[in-house]
Symmetry: C2
Subunit: 221 residues, 2 copies
């Protein structure tokens, strides 16, 4: 499988974790979202994803090239086709709560602080300093507040009990982004504790933005 | 089941369609997102959803009050517990493509034009006229362009072939929103055709924003 991604894109990062967690070997193809206005807007990439976003997962099957975009669709596909280890609980209500927590990040927080949106916010504010960072911080704080309260009664070692599940893939990149935008994490002790525990796991370590083929040398750790 | 919603919230609307489509009778509880700064920010509602968003689905089961937020989690739950009529294809890859198209709206378009975001955009632009509507229109146009291209090869009568599936619940409220923000729909003939066909179905008619208990009289049709 080929994964088109960008080192710091949280959507790409979620899928890297999921692939590692499911034991899928993949080839990483870096798409530079910044250089020359963004490789994602080039015709070649748009033919892979008309939304001009990373990630895209691509593979050959039955003589056909198959492609998927959208982290949630990709990760649910991986879970449908590679059931072990499971990443959704068997109980229907708990499974729904698991998806709910992942969606708090997926549709509730991350879309408001992606690179294209921040660029637009900067333009709109007429160059007011830190307007984009302040915007990101405000939505991150609102979202993490709701997430902390939602996760607390469900959490064990990780977001949902003691097994790694779907929202764990969403939490780690989101917490990285919160630190990047200098969000005070003290009000989110449950999320901070889970994030730290997840970052010890091999699947999460391998997927980390600090260590991808396209991580700029100055950002490598 | 009780659905906490708002007539024009597209996330509430999606769940109304899904409940109707699955044949679930529900009690509708209107949450006024506008009045007095928004009922969703009151402590009573926040105890139901810490994200202060609609919808929330609530029901009693085994002596417990159960609640779910996030349209995607709610609708997947309905499909898990009420399998007929199915809203996801059986083939794993087609099922993933179905979720992908729904996510284009859920995380790719709608979060950028919800009421809280538009309010913030207006503040940020220092009162420049139509700044919020222009912002909404730009993200809607970008998103619908990507969606038109993604849906075209998959569509039949509806988004995915000839049966009603998950993304159909997302498309109709999004197209309503596009018209509200005066997006030219001519470049999206596939989406416009599917939207019109869906709006003829009873489950979609019943759920329409034009005819909810909390639709303001001036907006009723």
């Amino acid at each position: 499988m080929k994964l088109y991604g960008y080192w710091r894109s949280s959507s790409s990062w979620r899928v890297r974790i999921a692939l590692n967690h499911k034991g899928v070997k993949y080839e990483y193809v870096a798409v530079n979202l910044i250089k020359d206005g963004g490789e994602q807007y080039k015709a070649d990439y748009q033919s892979k994803n008309p939304m001009s976003q990373v990630p895209v997962l691509e593979w050959e099957e039955g003589g056909q090239t198959k492609r998927l975009a959208q982290s949630m669709a990709i990760i649910e596909y991986l879970d449908d086709t590679i059931p072990n280890p499971p990443i959704l609980p068997k109980d229907a209500f708990l499974r729904a709560q698991t998806r709910m927590v992942a969606e708090i990040v997926n549709s509730g927080i991350q879309p408001l602080q992606n690179a294209a949106v921040l660029k637009k916010v900067k333009e709109l504010s007429g160059g007011v300093e830190h307007s984009d960072a302040n915007w990101a911080r405000e939505w991150l704080e609102r979202g993490l507040r709701g997430m902390e309260t939602s996760v607390k009664p469900l959490a064990g070692k990780y977001c949902i009990g003691d097994a790694v599940t779907l929202p764990d893939f969403y939490l780690v990149p989101q917490m990285y982004s919160a630190r990047r935008f200098k969000v005070d994490l003290a009000p989110f002790p449950t999320l901070a504790r889970i994030d730290a525990a997840l970052c010890e796991l091999p699947a999460f370590k391998l997927a980390h933005a600090d260590n991808q083929p396209d991580t700029p040398p100055a950002e490598k750790k």
